[in-house]
Symmetry: C2
Subunit: 296 residues, 2 copies
């Protein structure tokens, strides 16, 4: 846990998962899933779909057990993340639309968020926060497909139900918010966000049920606010985060989520895998003026 | 202590002082000095000379005790650092050449490196490394005026004399190396380095005596190697460091310092205070080819 004092956003702690192995929280779920495979499943290998961080984590987990790993990635996946997956030994198939079922048979799917073993692994983020922060009042968590927040909220609410858990997703990939509103999992026709780590194209019944039961609120942010959060985390807290990783701090910085009045607030920084040129560009972009004129 | 595994430079730990209050190790020495002032000295206030990080730290320490703080800064000091000093309550005088003695009388000087209380405070970095790393073999430390390495090496050699301590300074501000060579403190006529945090214009007898007694070696790096180290720390270790802060990792990355064959190596990341536009520029600069053709 790192102090967020330098951000000037009130009493705030940062769970710096960008400093995890592979640069994100994802190895927690990937290792938990891979370690539970049968001998037969290990022999056949694992497959997943990922734009980057889950793929790197699964590749690392698979390699550490000598298992074959295939990642189906969208054609828009960042080059740095694809290169890292290959470095960890994964084979990659890039497809315009991800049709996993037709792609490969026989390999065991380790889904990035709709997998109970993955969710349980991500839940260790919640357990570590509980252990490190005795007066915990609020946890703010970036949301893509909701694998992390499902496990984290389950862990935290099981131990301390009075702690608030708030999710943050990009307005241009708000699949969880829209599914909650629709009362069923929806598929997004179009995804448009700078936060590739949160660009899940659909939600699943498993994650939605857990979000409904354990998460207090999910808020949506536009990309300008997310990038403003990124600049603050990089320049003021001196931690490198990707846009997805900064969404939690961004929600507090732009006023959509208030830090707890009493007790500690923790913002989860989910990852920090970035191309140099994209980071350089975001650092130099000024926040666009608020079109509503209401400011933040 | 943060794992440096992601850097791919062998077994390496990072002492992440960029995550300290004010973004550098400097509050350790500044607080130790200010807490030892007499009531009379407190009433008259403190003065120092600093391009940035020591000034911020002294301003914070002074403010926390209700003491007036004046910083004499070179005209080349980065705007972000000057703004931070002001935010912490310091008054600033900018001068083309630093002539402290003539600037102000009556205030107690807290020198950035030639002060025993400051050196002792910086030494806590060494004590913390000893405590965290039982099999410590080598510590690599950026060197400006040698305040940090003086205290750190004194602490480490007093407890465990077999640990190697290696300093790293920029070729364009190699005041410690040149003074060691000359056998007396020298004043540099010209300073030219991207690492403003290491741009000390002179060495002092106090620091030189400590370096001679407690430091095993001081190596010099050019700016291209320092910036290559910065890019690695930012993109691979996901920690934001200024050029000065990256010099230790840079020395290992370019092959000038080898990680220990047995036991742990620690690289000290001294600070992470940066302008967005300078960081963006450095991220996009490619390392210039080695003119000797020998590579690294």
């Amino acid at each position: 846990m790192v102090s967020g004092e330098a951000l000037g956003l009130g009493p705030l702690l940062l769970k710096a998962e960008n400093l995890q192995r592979t640069g994100s929280f994802k190895p927690r779920g990937a290792f938990n899933a891979v370690l539970q495979l049968t001998a037969d499943e290990r022999a056949r290998g694992v497959i997943t779909l990922s734009a980057g961080n889950h793929g790197q984590a699964l590749a690392l987990a698979a390699r550490s057990l000598g298992i074959q790993c295939l990642v189906v990635a969208p054609q828009t996946a960042p080059q740095t993340k694809l290169a890292a997956m290959r470095r960890f030994g994964a084979e990659i198939i890039q497809t315009p639309s991800v049709r996993l079922q037709e792609a490969v048979e026989g390999m065991r799917l380790v889904h990035p968020f709709a997998d109970e073993r993955v969710i349980a692994g991500q839940g260790t983020v919640g357990l570590e926060i509980l252990e490190a922060v005795p007066d915990l009042a609020l946890v703010v968590v970036p949301v893509g497909g909701a694998g992390l927040i499902s496990g984290l909220a389950l862990a935290i609410k099981s131990v301390k139900p009075e702690v608030r858990v708030v999710g943050v997703e990009p307005v241009g990939a708000a699949v969880v918010s829209e599914s909650l509103r629709a009362g069923r999992p929806v598929v997004l026709e179009r995804i448009e966000t700078v936060a590739d780590g949160l660009a899940a194209p659909y939600a699943t019944a498993l994650n939605l049920a857990m979000v409904r039961r354990f998460v207090d609120e999910v808020v949506c942010l536009d990309d300008a606010d997310i990038l403003d959060g990124l600049r603050r985390v990089v320049l003021d807290a001196r931690l490198v985060v990707e846009p997805a990783g900064a969404a939690s701090v961004a929600a507090i910085a732009c006023g959509r989520v208030k830090v707890a009045g009493s007790g500690s607030t923790v913002a989860v920084l989910t990852g920090g895998n970035l191309d140099a040129s994209r980071l350089a560009g975001w650092l130099q972009t000024k926040k666009s003026p608020d079109p509503t004129g209401q400011g933040t």
